[in-house]
Structures are given as structure tokens and as C-alpha cells.
Amino acid sequence: MTNSIDDIAAAPCIFAIGCNAPEAHPLIGWRVRTAKDRGAVLIVADPRCTQLAEWADLHLQLYPGTDIALLNALMHVIISEGMHRPDFIEQRTEGFDQMWQVVSNYPPDKAAAITGVPEQQIIEAARMMGRADRVCTIYTLGITEHTVGTHNVMAVADLAMTLGSVGKPAAGVNPLRGQNNVQGSCDMGALPNVFSGYQSVTDAAVRAKFEKAWGAALPGEVGLTLPDMLIEARQGNLKAMYIVGEDIMMSDPNTKHVRQALESLDFLVCQEIFLSSTCELADVVFPAGSFAEKDGTFTNTERRVQLVRRAISSPGQARPDWQIICALGQALGMRMSYSHPSEIMDEVASLTPIYGGIRHNRLGTDGLQWPCPDESHPGTPVLHREKFTRGLGKFAPVEHEPPAETPDDEYPLMLSTGRMLFHYNAGTMTRRTPILQREFPRNFVQINPADAERLGVRRTGKARVTTRRGSLVVDAQVTDRLKEGVIWMPFHFVESPANVLTNDVFCPIARTAEYKVCAAKVEPA
């Protein structure tokens, strides 16, 4: 997030796109609710009529995979009607003219035809945003989980800059990360192209710094993203994997291919708190301690580094992750002896400029938001106040492209997948919690009433959902929260995993899979 979570509660206008905060980020949903109660305007773009959409002043119910058309059309109206912010654009950005070249080709009627959102609603939404002093944009996986995911994000940023809504409070471009510490994982360089703090592995000076600190030679090429690891594994080029706290059999698209990939490996090591579906394929499983069993920090979506402290001891042979990793490192001949995670953070700070001033003893109850370059720095609630990382913000115009797989005669429906409040991701924890499991014990598919009737799917019946990758029989939930032609399924159920159906195609830049749309057919079962 460029801004902080509390900025959302103070925003005069919130644009939530590809975001279901009350279910996926309840505490952020609370800030949206609070903003609304203070009189904020709320615009929601989502293929489903979620509770957030019901709170909205305007719900733009677009078809999955048409976000760029919508965003470009919003910019089209805002600029055509003179509601953009010329001062900000002039002083803080470059490339506006090139962007207008592209966006001028997205009048609202053309976007209406692509998105399924009525032209008048697009115009009204643009005017609501244009009239507001500033707009706080929040987005989640509805924007990123597409083959055009990176382009979607660029369009979101373009819109925010058009409205002068970056680098100031109660505004900003705010992705809501999907796990409590995915921001932290990325910050630490659990990515194939950067070390900690987004310092590039291909930068020789940076590499030299880390090589000196760690006493080892480090590769200078960008490594493999997860999807590419699986492709290479299937082809026999990748021999081993060490998977920590991720159930890729559940969370990656096209389960059949994931299984093939893992089974092709010579050696698979997993580190997990429960014996997940991925663990079942492993040669070695290290039992790890849960969040309640370790000291350390989590970095959340607003870049806030917070202390987490051990509350209970680990059962059996389980140990905190850092201890397992250090033991492994030592067995491989590395110098990895820390007596406490705070020492690890001290090392992080010494090598990572944005974490330069982060120390456990500085974190207290509120933590610190990076960038925090030195020990006297109070942290950074709002990014880009004076300038962007590269100096001027660059408008990056993008064109609408359809999803990799669109409906056809054989697979006439669009399947989208997502999250629910009562379950969390692969259900590793929530489906082992009886009262949460009781709420939603089984997988289901949401289907529009007209589609259900046409296909003969009964309200209390079951449906067979099939894609080119696989097929599942699940409970049918007939609901008018979806438009005709669109179906939706949660991905939390290990015995009926939605990713059996999803398409393993990826954004070429971010390598995020297109979980949010593929072609499907439905029959009564």
C-alpha cells in the first residue's frame, strides 16, 4: 500500500476494485464501513454483488477480466470532463499525453460493451471520483490474478495519478495483501529477482554486499518463479524443492499439473504445521511451529513491521521455522548461529535500506512502517509524498486484452474463484476448527438463477463443474449475486479443490496465475 490502513477510514471517496474486504480483510472492511458512515462515497467494481457491493453507492458489476477497459473508460470520462488534476499531473508525473492517446480509445460505450457495465454507470462512477477531493483505491486479487495482472495494476495506478490521489493521506494505491506476512516475505527477498528490500540480484554492487555479509558466492541471474519451477520440474530440469508453509497442491492452478511436477522431482522437502496435501508427496517433512509458537515479526499490507511473540510451546518435535532453516544451513556448512530472531532482524537492517532502522526493541506495540532507514526514523505512513521512487510517476498506458480462456460453445460460462470469510486459503487451519468448518463444511458453486434453470440445476442440488483441466461435483448455490454467464467457487476445500479447474496461465511479468477467470460448463449432478 502506498498509504496506511487508517487512511481508508478517512477517505472521502473509496474505489474498491477486485476487492471483497469484509470477507477477505475484515479489519480493512471495517475501515471502509467507517468511511462510509462518515459520509464517504464508495464505488465497488466486482463481478459479484458482495456485501461490500451492497454498501456501495455504485456497484460496477463487470465481467471477470475486463478491468482495463473499465479503468481506461473511467479515465476517459474523467479527463474528457476536465476532472483530472492538472497540477499533480504536471508536477509529479510524465507520459500523460501518451496515456491519453490510448485512453481516448475507451469511450464509456465501448467499455460498456466489453465489461457489461452500463455506460451511464461508468460515467456516474467517473463523476463521483472526479468530484471527490481525492480517491483512495483499494484492490486485491481480482486485479492481480489475471494474465494481464501487472497491466491491471498499472491501469489502477494510472487512474490514481490522473486523480492526483497518490502521495497524500486518505488516498493512494492500496493493494491488500492476501496473507498476514506476504508483504514481509517479499520484503525479505523470497522472490527470484531480488534480495531483501527489492535490491536486484543482477546488480553487481548489491550482490557483492550480500556475498560479503554471508560469506558465499551468490548467483547473479534471476531465478525461477513458482509457476516456472513447476514447468521446469515437469521437464526434468528442476530436481528438488524445499517448500515452506505453502500448500501448492491446494493453492496453485491446475492441480493435475502441480502433482505431475512434484512427482517428477527427485527430492521434495516440506516444512509445515499440518500434514497438508503437498506434504503427502514429500520425502521429508519438517514439523514447523505455528504463528503462536515463535518470536519474530510480521510485515502487513501497510508495510508495518510488527512484533509477534511466542505464546505457547511447539508440540512434539515442531520448531519455529527460523530454527529449522538455521539447522539446515549449518548442516550445509553455513555460519548461521543466532540466539534470537532479533539478531536476524539486526542483520536484515544492516543489509536492507528500507528496514535500516527496524529493531525488535523499537517495535513496541505499534511496530514501524518502512521505509525506515535509520534508528531515529519514525517510519513512513504515506509513500511518495514528495516524489516517487523513480522521481516522476510514469503513466503506463495499457490496452484491454481478453483473458487467456474465454467462453465458447463447449465451455460457455466464466468461472471465477475466491475467498470466503469463514475459511482461510487452503483451509489448513480453518477446516480443522470445528465451528468454522461447520459454517461451510463443503465446496459449492454459485450460479445465477437463470443459468441454473436453463441447465436444470436445482436449488438444493449438486452441480458438476468442468473445465479443460478437470471436473468437480459440488453443492449448487443458486444466487442472483452473479450475472448470467458467470459462476464462482471458493478454493478452500482440499477434498474438492477449485484449482483442479483453474487455468495454469500466468501474467508474463508477475507470473501470477489467472485464477479469476477461465471457461467452464455446468451440468446437474
Binding site: 467507517t34 506495540t365 465451528i435 459454517e439
Partner: protein, 355 residues
């Protein structure tokens, strides 16, 4: 617990002695008191030293319900032997003192006594703990924001229904004995107590008057009950239901809630436990039957039901209102549903929105 208008003596406890009293009580009982955590939250916890206890607080985040109705409790342990089972019901009652409990939370204990500890099947697990518990309650100096005990007569102080009730006065506390358990405590710890002087009695009464002096009720409870019972509440309920996300937070923190779930958990091939855990009617699954039928599938139904249960039905079945005005549900709600606003809309003259 004490009866109304018992003519029990009143004592004075020096401010400095309160923590020392708690330390002394530890010789014969587990002492549970408000403790301020590093995160500035006050929670009831067992203490090992009187100095851990804090009395500078509005109220603890949750009531001390866990010490009488545990969040998780073993109802039975079983072991299979052939085709039969050996079963035992572990009923424990360690003596405990719960100090620092506010008038509202103590009023909730009366509801637990009626709902769980009475009736055709008084709960032996609860009663064992209850009989072993002595309460040292503390009156509030004022009605805190979003609290409404004064409308419901559950605070800021109590006239009866307590063991030993403290009210802050100059130099210390007026300590009223309200029951045999309270009298026993004062007798055993007599070195901390001396009989009150008449001026101290007056100070206590003045403190009680001062505590409500600034309070203005925003609703009339009888009007609220009439509105709910007649169904003339659809808009207000609908507004609340549109905000509610079924998180159950309001009921998790509510001192008067007593519902629970019973479930078996194997602990080995032939052994296991039947556990009772807190549950909440906010969840749709609370009433869903095995075949899928659910009389409370609609959120409007569930929102309305919990208001009816707290404000109307409890009165009918247990003779006590099912709300003590502690205000925790308002603080907990992610949908910004304010019970006070809702009640004002139902039974006051306010046409306010619910959040």
C-alpha cells in the same frame, strides 16, 4: 450471593492495601484480577502477586466468564474397552477469587446462575466453580461512553447481588459485604478492614450519585421491548443486518451469552473427550440441521433473534434482562453497529441510523 437489604456491616479498605489483600488471598485461593498487558489491554488473568493487578481501567476487554464457563471444557473423558466404554466426568472446583469485576459483569453472573445453574438440569460443572468463587466487585466512578448500565440497573454500582463490593472514596474503598462469602473473606482478612465511619458511608452514597449525574438515557427499555415484540423494527433490523458480517464478535465479548457447542475429540485410538466450547447464534451453522434445513438461514432473522433474546426472551425465561449495558458489543463490531444507537432508534425518539 447476597440478598437485597441485608444489614451487613460496611468496612473501609485503604487504597494501598488492595493489592496486598489480593496477595494475602492467594494463600487459599486462585486470585483472578485485571492485568494490563504490554498492548495496553486489560484482561482478567490469574495473578501470582497482588501488584500485577490494575484498578485503573474502564473495564476488561472481556468479562471473567472464562473462569466460570470456560471457553473450552471437558464434559467427559471416555475410553473404549471391548464394545463398552469407561467414562468419567471431571468436575473441578478450585477455590477462586475474582477481583476487580464491574457491576455489569457481576450482573451477568446472575444470568449464568439462572440460565446454566438452575432449571431442570442445573449444570454441575458450572455450579462447582460457582460455589468456589468469591467476587470482589468495584463500582464504576461514572457511566463510560457507550455503556448504559444505568438504564438497566446493572451499574455503575449495585445495591445487592455482590459478595464484597468496593466503591472508591477518599484514601481507599468503601467495602460493602453482601453475602456470607463476602463476610467470610472480610473476617479471614480482617487485618485489611476496619468498620466504616459514618462520613465514609456518606462518601460512598455520594460517589454512587456522582456516577450517574452526567448520564442521560437515550432509550426507554420498555419502549424498546414493545417495538421489538410488535415487529415494528424492520428498518432498524435491516440496517443492522446489512452491516453485520456474521463475525460473532459481539457475542464473543458479551458477558450474558451462555450458548455452547458439544463435540467429541479423539485423543487416541480408543480414548477421547467430549468438549463443550462457546458458540454463538450469530453463525448460520448454529441452527443448521444435518439434512441442511436451517430456520435461521437469513441474517435478518439472526440479528433480530439476538436482540429479542437479550431484550425480551431472557426476561421471559430467566426473569432477567439479557443485556447488562457493558458496551463491549459496540466496540467489537466491524460493521459499526452500535447497540445504543439501535435501541435509541427502537425505543427512544431518535431517528438515528444504527451505526
Amino acid at each position: 450471593m447476597g440478598n437485597a437489604k441485608t444489614n451487613m456491616p460496611e468496612y473501609f479498605l485503604k487504597a494501598d492495601d488492595l493489592q496486598a489483600l489480593l496477595s494475602a488471598l492467594m494463600a487459599s485461593a486462585r486470585v483472578i484480577a485485571p492485568v494490563r498487558s504490554d498492548w495496553e489491554e486489560v484482561l482478567f488473568e490469574p495473578i501470582v502477586n497482588g501488584e500485577q493487578a490494575t484498578f485503573e481501567y474502564e473495564n476488561a476487554v472481556v468479562s471473567p466468564k472464562d473462569f466460570l464457563l470456560p471457553q473450552t471444557e471437558v464434559l467427559a473423558r471416555y475410553r473404549r474397552v471391548g464394545k463398552s466404554y469407561q467414562v468419567e466426568a471431571p468436575i473441578e472446583a478450585p477455590p477462586q477469587v475474582i477481583a476487580g469485576i464491574r457491576s455489569c459483569d457481576l450482573s451477568a453472573v446472575q444470568i449464568w446462575d439462572e440460565a446454566i445453574g438452575s432449571g431442570e438440569y442445573p449444570d454441575p460443572y458450572y455450579l462447582a466453580r460457582r460455589r468456589g468463587t468469591t467476587f470482589i466487585s468495584i463500582a464504576c466512578p461514572t457511566v463510560f461512553e457507550n455503556h448504559f448500565c444505568a438504564v438497566l440497573d446493572t451499574g455503575p454500582t449495585l445495591q445487592s447481588g455482590f459478595d464484597l463490593h468496593l466503591t472508591a472514596i477518599e484514601g481507599g474503598y468503601a467495602a460493602q459485604v453482601g453475602s456470607d462469602a463476602g463476610l467470610r473473606l472480610v473476617t479471614e482478612q480482617c487485618r485489611f478492614f476496619r468498620p466504616s465511619a459514618p462520613s465514609e458511608l456518606q462518601q460512598r452514597e455520594q460517589a454512587a450519585r456522582d456516577a450517574v449525574a452526567q448520564f442521560a438515557a437515550r432509550f426507554d427499555i420498555a419502549a424498546v421491548q414493545r417495538a421489538l415484540s410488535s415487529g415494528a423494527d424492520l428498518d432498524a433490523i435491516g440496517d443492522a443486518a446489512s452491516r453485520c458480517q456474521d463475525c460473532g464478535g459481539c457475542l464473543f465479548v458479551c458477558p450474558t451469552c451462555t450458548c455452547f457447542d458439544v463435540r467429541d475429540y479423539p485423543t487416541g485410538e480408543n480414548t477421547g473427550e467430549r468438549l463443550r466450547t462457546w458458540d454463538t447464534c450469530a453463525y448460520a451453522g448454529f441452527t443448521r440441521m444435518a439434512g441442511g434445513a436451517n430456520p435461521s438461514a437469513s441474517r435478518d432473522v439472526r440479528v433480530r433473534r439476538r436482540l429479542m433474546h437479550k431484550l425480551v426472551y431472557r426476561l421471559e425465561s430467566e426473569g432477567l434482562l439479557g443485556c447488562v449495558g457493558c458496551g463491549r458489543c459496540i466496540a467489537a463490531c466491524l460493521g459499526n453497529i452500535s447497540l445504543v444507537d439501535l435501541l435509541a432508534r427502537l425505543g427512544g425518539q431518535e431517528k438515528s441510523r444504527v451505526g
